[in-house]
Amino acid sequence: MTIFPIPLEAELGKIGAYLIYLLIGFGFGYALEISGFGSSPKLAAQFYLRELTVLKVMFGAIVVAMVLIFAASGLGLLDYNLVWVNPTYLWPGIVGGLIMGVGFIVGGFCPGTSLVALATFKKDGLFFSLGVLFGIFAFGETVSTYETWWNSSYLGRFTLPEWLGLPTGVVVLLLVLMALFMFWGAEQLERIFGKRDLSQEPKWRYAAAGALALGAVAVVFIGQPTNLQRWEKLKTEKEPLLEQRLVQIHPGELLDSMENPRLKVILLDVRSEADYNLFHLKNARLTPMDSLLEQASELLKEPANTVFVLMSNDEAAATEAWKVLVAESVPNVYILEGGVNRWLEYFGAEDERIQPLVSAEQDNLRFAIPAALGARYPAATPDPHLYELEYTPKIKLELKRGPSGGGCG
């Protein structure tokens, strides 16, 4: 399993984890200050094209971090699935951005830079920070009047490569080239509007630009690990779990877990839509195999006490699905032992409408179900108090390694 990101609180305890965040914040504040982001006239100059420091620092930081992140992910050092990617709420984001643009040009800072200004005793930084606190307070008090809109146009974890339909490496390279072009344009604007003498600029910036572009090209060639490659890496560690049957849970355990208020059980039914319509467990989600990869990123966002239970008619398809989800770093994934067939043996026995078939192929439904009533058969919602089933409990909650909500939660 890739080592990074580290589950900090599990490894270092809360104090240790917070110390790491303090250090990262320190680096952040330091980098902002040495770039001149504690000075509002310097920030505002960006918008009068005199000095495009904001653009250079921001885009410089974005492309440097981006190349490093996707190189690390391509080399298998960093698990991109466990990295927090801001979910897209398109219109609230755009409108919020416009309002912040107004705040930026009127107030001269953004929240992070105003903290740095405050730390270096700038009085306008203090007033700006107070304004930010007031704005945040005002938002908290008014958001309930338009909460529906605020939660609208939700596209989830939606990335540029998905949107453009291009490989990640290509997007990284295009963004680096775009940034380099913008840097060139910014210098030209500074020459024209800011009367800057470009011959005084250091020569190392050409070398830096070259290194960045080379890095991006390397990211294209390394590529990003596919689901299959991710599984290959995990195989030796995870395959024994399947063989020792540590992740196949007894129908009784599933039934009890669904009643357990401390667990959130999500049932993923990977059978065909036809079988699903005939019969499925209550609240089971129809999850075709080819949609699993897409779903994985959403499943990663579920709370830490979530248990995912995959089911097919027997176990074959569910086992394949298990490999896909485990390779995508989804935690707490289990398989319903014996699948829906075993479930019906236990809980459908008293329903005369459901009759066992004598012979059926592997992973096919072994019951004749007369009407496509889905979850409206009693067997879809058995009463746990009526069944005393013995089983060895296998569900053990793993520590959540995933991202915990971005800088804005």
């Binding site: 200050e33 009068y48 705040g103 040009i105 800088g407």
Partner: protein, 192 residues
């Protein structure tokens, strides 16, 4: 801050005085150098913790913490506030809080090392200090409101989301710059 200079005068032998004594003001780093450094910090943040950088989220939690002290019942009624401070939940128990203190500390240390710890008001040449304070507060209020609406500020959305290729973050970033450029001409008296 006047207290600093006073301390300096009063106790020359005190080591803190040496700490605060005005150093020679050094020029800012080259923007590409600053950008690269910031990029490395951003990468390390994602690499080690899985989270990006942020600031406004921390300020948000500080506001909610104060609200929770004054009017806990109110906090328990508003769903947005409830998530952060409902019942016994401490809104300050979140990684973003140490990060905010880190930003303050990092900014302070860099300002001190480079002789930029000066109590002053950054402003355009044609407005008074008081006007600048008012515009700073008003601008800050817009920033704070917009940052919550957009679920992140320039650091948490644009910088962090941009680097990990979030579509929403790029749309947000473009709209932020569009808003600022669109208004820049009309408020030029503030800065030029």
């Amino acid at each position: 801050m006047t207290t600093v200079t006073q301390k300096q005068v009063r106790s020359k032998s005190f080591s803190l005085a040496a700490l605060f004594s005005r150093r020679e003001t050094r020029p800012y780093a080259h923007p590409f150098l600053g950008g690269a450094l910031l990029g490395i910090v951003l990468f390390l943040s994602f690499f080690i913790t899985g989270n990006g950088l942020g600031a406004s989220g921390g300020l948000n939690r500080i506001v909610v913490f104060i609200e929770d002290l004054i009017a806990p019942q109110h906090v328990d009624r508003v769903s947005y506030l409830l998530k952060m401070a409902g019942g016994e939940v401490n809104p300050l128990d979140n990684w973003i809080i140490p990060m905010v203190f880190g930003i303050l500390l990092g900014g302070f240390v860099s300002g001190w090392r480079n002789g930029r710890l000066k109590a002053e008001t950054g402003k355009g040449p044609n407005i008074s200090v008081r006007t600048r304070w008012v515009t700073a507060f008003v601008g800050g209020a817009f920033m704070g409101y917009g940052a919550r609406l957009a679920r992140g500020c320039t650091s948490g959305q644009a910088l962090s989301g941009g680097a990990v290729l979030s579509v929403g973050s790029w749309a947000f970033m473009l709209s932020l710059f569009a808003g600022a450029y669109a208004l820049a001409y009309f408020v030029r008296k503030l800065w030029l």
